[in-house]
Amino acid sequence: MSEAPMPLWEVFIRNRSGMPHKHCGSVHAPDAAIALQAARDVYTRRGESVSVWVVPSSAITASDPADKDELFEPTGTKIYRHPTFYKVPDDVGHM
């Protein structure tokens, strides 16, 4: 007996510290309401969260690992994007 596949949802939770929602795993559920319920049961059993998002996995577009260098390597040489690239006279103090 082969069952109809249950849709997959990605789960994001925000913890108390006010940080952004963070990916924590996935659940299977027929619809968004049940996905939310399952995410709460599976990923927040110990007060880990004050807010949960569920997103259909199929709705996520991800970068291809093969394009990693092309996408992210160029920033490696752009050190002028960091504050430490710029010199400020010592006697000016902290800036």
Binding site: S2, A4, V27, P30, V42, R46
Partner: protein, 333 residues
């Protein structure tokens, strides 16, 4: 451990891998970079992980049965709440692990079907019966203790989703072991009958717990590959020894004895040495002929089949609501 059935020769020979890709993969693993689901990986690495993670997940799910047996008969509300939370955790751990395995391209439905068809293994430990309340103490203390010993190094496994699932699981499991040991302490310091129950549970669970670490290194087939790929960090025997060294003093603290006349401490190394493990029992239980194999599979199959209409109805309901919402949008336009 929860993945003892790995000790089989992989029959489908994977196609020869591109040596350049293979070399890049190994450099990444050696540099302790994580391998993520969409990264290139050797076919044998993928297969090993699917087998290991799914066996681990099945073990968590089947593992609910022996303990679930005592939820309604827990001796107090405090004990019942603790046990219920622990069994709920096992369900959660099974789900984290199925999700981690799914990132490798196998569906949860397929994994569950493999389990029910008897094609997938789960840990031998869950084929032993829980005959008394003291068994709940012994399981938490010994079985979860052994699991933690095995799972801590898996938090550093080279495959990202598995490592992340293990971090969550390890955080939650330390409560499991402590609740078990607390039960053992209570029984061991109780009436003579209670102490006898604790001793009886230790007698029955000690050897099966040692078997959880899998075959001895002399017989282990895949250790070299899985070590090189940093799926595994320590050998079965090394982890077993760590567990023995940690656990024997805890048992003595309870005032209990271990069912092993050869157990003794090597004064020079500080290690505890046990007698020989009965590997024929291990093989028998893993192959399906333990005290409760049939009962466990029957309960799992029934639960899965009895729940099928709920899953079908939930999907049908979701479909109906989506169609109605679409029709309402059309009408409004």
């Amino acid at each position: 451990m929860y993945t003892q059935g790995l000790n089989v020769t992989d029959t489908g020979k994977p196609a020869a891998e591109d040596p350049a890709k293979l070399a890049r993969f190994q450099v990444k693993v050696d540099a302790e970079d994580k391998i993520e689901p969409n990264d290139w990986m050797p076919e044998a690495y993928r297969r090993t992980l699917v087998r290991q993670i799914s066996q681990h997940a099945h073990s968590e799910i089947i593992g609910m049965q022996p303990e679930g047996n005592w939820i309604t008969r827990a001796p107090s509300l405090r004990r019942k709440a603790g046990l219920l939370a622990k069994v709920q955790d096992e369900a959660g751990h099974g789900l984290y692990l199925y999700a981690a395995a799914e990132t490798l391209g196998i569906s949860r439905e397929d994994m569950v079907e493999q389990l029910i068809a008897g094609k997938a293994k789960y840990s031998s430990i869950f084929n032993y019966p829980t005959l008394s309340w003291a068994d709940i103490g012994a399981i938490g203390w010994l079985v979860d203790g052994a699991a933690i010993m095995n799972q801590i190094p898996l938090c550093r496994c080279s495959f990202g989703p598995y490592a992340r699932a293990m971090i969550r699981i390890c955080k939650e499991e330390s409560f499991h072991q402590r609740q078990g040991y607390e039960i053992m302490v209570t029984l061991s310091t109780g009436t003579p009958q209670q102490k006898a129950m604790a001793q009886d549970a230790l007698n029955r669970w000690w050897w099966p717990s040692l078997m959880m670490f899998g075959p001895s290194d002399k017989e282990s087939l895949h250790t070299a590959d899985t070590m090189q790929w940093k799926i595994k960090r320590f050998s079965n025997d090394d982890l077993r020894q760590k567990f023995i060294d940690a656990t024997v003093p805890q048992g003595h603290h309870l005032g209990l004895t271990f069912p092993d006349p050869e157990l003794k401490r090597d004064e020079t190394t500080g290690h505890w040495h046990t007698g020989e493990i009965d590997w024929s029992e291990f093989k028998r239980v893993l192959a399906g002929d333990g005290p409760c194999n049939r009962q466990r599979m029957k309960a799992k199959t029934e639960a899965h089949e009895d729940g099928a209409w709920v899953r079908e109805a939930a999907l049908a309901h979701a479909r109906k609501r989506a169609e109605r919402a679409a029709a309402a949008r059309m009408a409004a336009e």
